[in-house]
Each structure stands twice: as C-alpha cells, then as structure tokens.
C-alpha cells in the first residue's frame, strides 16, 4: 500500500520535458535566488578555493580575477541564457532536438548526462570526506585517483543514496531544500574563515592584506602543481559554469522564470559562492597547509571541521548535497530526452547510481578544475548553435529549427560545428600548449561561424533544389 502510494507520488512528478512550461507553473525570483545561491555555494567550493591556493594564485590576481570572471558569468546568464529561456520555455534537450535532430541530440544527451554524473560525483565525494570524520576515515590525497579504502566506498554510497532519493522527487523538493540551507551555508563558510584568521597571523583588518599575500595566496604553487595567473582565475570563474550559461543547460531551469532578468539572480551564486566561499575555503586550506607542513592530504570535510567544528562538517555534507541534487536532476532530464516515455524518477535513479559509482574515484576531486573546464568546453558549442539559430539564422533568411522544419534526424551543420570546434580546441591545446581554461572563448566563435556557414550551404541547396 505504502509502496503504491510512493510510486504514485513519484509518477506524478511532472517536469514539462517536451512542452513549454505553462504560465501557472512559473516561479518567482526568490525561487531562483535560493536555487543559485544554494547551488553555487556547494561542496565543490571547498575544493576550488583550496586548489587556487595549491596552484599558487596571488592575492591580487585572485581578487581581480574572480571579480571580473564572475561579472562575465552573470552577464552570460542574463543576456544569453535567460532571453532564450523566455522565448522557448522548453528544456535545452528538446530545443536541441528541434535544431539538430534526434540522432545528434541523443549523442549530446549521453555526453551531457555523463558529464553531469561526474560533476555530481565530485560533489558527493566532497560530502563523503565530512561523513567520514567521526569514523576516522583515511582521507584521499592530491595524488589519489582510485578509492583508497572500503570505508571511503561505504561513505560515498551512503551520501549518493540519500542524494538520489531526494532528487527522485523532482525539482520542487530540491529547490525548497536549497532555499532553506542557502543562508545558513553561506554564513558557515564565512564564519569558519573569519574564526581561523588569528591563527594565520591576522589580528586586525589591516593585517589581512599582508597575510593574504605572504601566508594565504602566496603566488607560489605547491610542488607538482601548475602556476595560476590572473587570466587562469578570470577565465575559470567565467567558464566554471560554461555549460550552464553559454552552453544553455540552464534553459531547463530558467524556463520557469517569469522575467528574463531573473538571470541576474545567478549573481547570488557567483558572488557568494564563487567569490566569498572560494576565498573562505582558501583561507581554511592555508591554515591546514601551515599546520601540516604542506601535507598532500586533500579532504574538504576535515578542513571545514577544523574551522567550524560539527557545523563545518555538516555544511560540507549539505553543500555537496544541494548541488549534486540539481545536477542529478539535469542529468536525468538529459537521459529522459532520449527516451521520453521513461518516468522521471526511474531515470533519476539510474543517474544516481552512475553518479555514486563515479564518486568513488578521488581523481574527480583532485582534478576538479581541469574537469570543470573540460565539461564546459565539450558542451559549449551547442550553446553557440542555439544563439545563432535564434538570432542570426532568421536574419540570413534561413529556417530556424532545421531538423524539425525539414524533418531530419541529424543536422550536419551542428555535427560539424560541434566536432570541428572540439578538434580545433584539441589542436590549440596539443600544438600550442594553450591550457584548457582558455579554450572556451575561441571555441565559441569557431562553433558559431561554422554553424552559420554550413547551415547557409545546406539550406541554400535545399531551396535551390526545390526540396523545401
């Protein structure tokens, strides 16, 4: 009886995968503020902030790089993603299907879902470092790629299981939980950093800048880590969520917005999560390095516990959880777009299992900066295609939604734009040593140009041949 009731409740989860969100289901700005603030004050912030320290970012580069990069990210959400979300009010996956066709979308969705699983997996791994504290769990180090103990596997399975069950109940539950947790999480991040400042030699506000330069963000990378400059930090901050804004994945979220300018609500996530939280976690990590004589152990849970006690450990668990939830939800939407008849909760369950298995590998955490950049880069070309299809294709007197209009299962303009952009990025990386953080910007223009040129020739031939 109880089982039937739960199944009924799960089956009733309606997320408007293949039709525009109706007016009555649109959400107010507060919903997005909580969602963005919660999602970007995540467990991974406890990894990214410390990795900037490990990569030898200087205090000046960090302050300015994060400021400019985050402003560019907010503008990308507000002026690229939001207007398209308002216009279409459908998921990224359904929109892509209309433009690129079922076959291309299937490949994209598989890649996308896998990327989301890995990302959510890293968040679950971060949470597991906090769950393991009371059990004396052996924590992974910067050089670990594989699970280092049975205890680690048990911890990630426990966190992954709970995260998946909550995600199975849909977006509303996730949004509500994120709303509740967000203000408290942010304060714990800030409080834990402020409380340890005296131990780093900061006893007054005037001390801060001096210690920031000589103790926290020293400008010297740890052994084996590459050197980060202003440009690394700025581009990382801008493109950390490239798949979501420029890559348009947040169409799935912002299609619920009443107004386009709700895209600016992403600023809550950027400036609280990707500024204050990255700096706070960097401060905590600097203390850890000082106390352990630059140990290679890398575990956000114990680092937060050192600064804020049990509240710090709880925030790592919840911060990982509130971000893993929407990420698993997005991965579920990606897979469901391939098989629309599958129930949302069943797809989410499958995604949750894949995510949990991925989270067993600490490499996802240790190489998070590179993975985040790679994931944005791989998915970004589709964002360029969508923008061109919405704004430039009609001006060239070509047809929008090519696959739907001409009843095609694969739009070769999209296939070539996507594939060649990724090859071009690899060429820049391998031949000229351009680091992955810098490949997104030139890649976007290559993808946009290729899509327009090839679309022109494909559609011109169709019209000339009288196919239309």
């Amino acid at each position: 009886m109880a089982k039937n009731k739960i199944t009924e409740q799960l089956d009733s989860v309606e997320e408007y995968e293949r039709r525009p969100v109706p007016e009555s289901k649109l959400k107010n700005w507060k919903s997005f503020l909580g969602m963005y603030a919660g999602e970007h004050t995540a467990g991974t912030e406890f990894v990214i902030g410390p990795l900037f320290v490990a990569h030898g970012a200087s205090a000046n580069d960090l302050i300015w790089g994060l400021l400019i990069g985050n402003i560019l990210a907010v503008l990308s959400w507000a002026f690229l993603t939001s207007p398209i979300a308002m216009k279409e009010r459908i998921t990224l996956y359904y929109l892509l299907e209309k433009i690129s066709g079922k076959k291309v979308t299937t490949v994209y969705n598989l890649v996308n879902a896998l990327m989301f699983c890995f990302l959510a997996g890293s968040m679950i791994a971060v949470s597991a470092t906090a769950v393991g504290i009371p059990f004396g769990l052996a924590m992974p180090t910067l050089n670990d790629w594989l699970p280092n103990s049975i205890g680690w596997i048990v911890a990630v399975v426990a966190v992954g299981g709970v995260t998946t069950i909550v995600a199975m109940f849909g977006y509303n539950l996730v949004s509500k939980f994120a709303n509740i947790a967000a203000p408290w999480m942010i304060l714990v991040f800030v409080a834990s950093a402020i409380a340890v400042l005296p131990e780093l030699g900061v006893h007054s506000f005037s001390d801060f800048w001096v210690r920031a330069n000589d103790t926290i963000w020293t400008g010297t990378p740890l052994e084996g880590q590459s050197q980060f400059t202003f440009w690394h930090i700025m581009f990382f901050a801008w493109f950390a969520n490239m798949a979501m804004h420029i890559g348009m994945a947040d169409l799935s979220i912002l299609r619920y917005a009443k107004k386009w300018y709700y895209g600016f609500n992403s600023g809550a996530g950027m400036f609280v999560g990707h500024y204050i939280a990255w700096m706070a976690s960097g401060i905590l990590y600097a203390l850890f390095l000082k106390e352990t004589s630059f140990s290679t152990e890398f575990a956000p849970g114990p680092i937060a516990y050192r600064g804020a006690g049990i509240a710090g450990a709880i925030v790592v668990v919840i911060a990982g959880w509130t971000t893993a939830n929407p990420t698993i939800y997005r991965a579920g939407l990606a897979l469901q777009a391939i098989r629309p008849n599958w129930k949302t909760w069943k797809v989410t369950l499958v995604v949750g299992v894949i995510t949990t298995v991925a989270s067993m590998f600490p490499a996802l955490v240790m190489k998070l900066l590179n993975f985040v950049a790679l994931y944005g880069l791989i998915l970004m070309p589709m964002g360029a295609v969508i923008i061109m299809d919405a704004y430039v294709i009609p001006k060239l007197k070509l047809k929008q939604y090519y696959a739907e209009t001409f009843n095609k299962s694969a739009n070769m303009a999209v296939v070539i734009a996507w594939g060649v952009t990724l090859l071009f990025s690899m060429w820049l990386n391998f031949s000229f040593g351009v680091e992955i953080f810098f490949l997104g910007l030139p890649g976007w223009f290559v993808a946009a140009a290729l899509y327009l040129i090839i679309s022109y020739f494909i559609q011109k031939n169709k019209t000339a041949g009288g196919i239309e």
């Binding site: 959400k27 107010n28 507060k30 919903s31 509303n172 949004s175 509500k176 709303n179 509740i180 203000p183 408290w184 304060l187 714990v188 800030v190 409080a191 834990s192 402020i194 409380a195 340890v196 400042l197 005296p198 900061v202 006893h203 804020a308 006690g309 049990i310 509240a311 710090g312 709880i314």
Partner: protein
C-alpha cells in the same frame, strides 16, 4: 507564530556568524565558537522549514 519562528531563525543565523567575529577579536575561544555555531545550526534547521517556502508555489 510566524514572527516568533522567524525570530528563532534569525537568532540561529546570528549564533552561526557573530561568534566568529568574537574569536577574531579574541573575546571567545574557537571551541566556544564551534559550540555556538552548532546551536545556531539547530535553531535554523528547526525553525526555518516551518516558515520558508510556504509561498513558493
């Protein structure tokens, strides 16, 4: 009732953030701060769900 709950939530948030400044000013110890933070956490999570999200839908 809602006002009272909001007040409890506010106390919870204040208990989470304010003690860290007291540690910085060398008025309380880090251990006391950690204790107050967990009290603040409990107050927040007990009270906030009772008034937040009530008008979301």
């Amino acid at each position: 009732m809602k006002t009272l709950l909001k007040l409890v939530s506010l106390i919870g948030l204040l208990a989470t953030i304010v003690p860290s400044f007291l540690v910085f000013a060398d008025i309380i110890t880090l251990d006391t701060n950690k204790l107050l933070m967990i009290v603040g956490t409990l107050l927040w999570f007990i009270s906030a769900p009772l008034w937040m999200n009530k008008k979301v839908e």
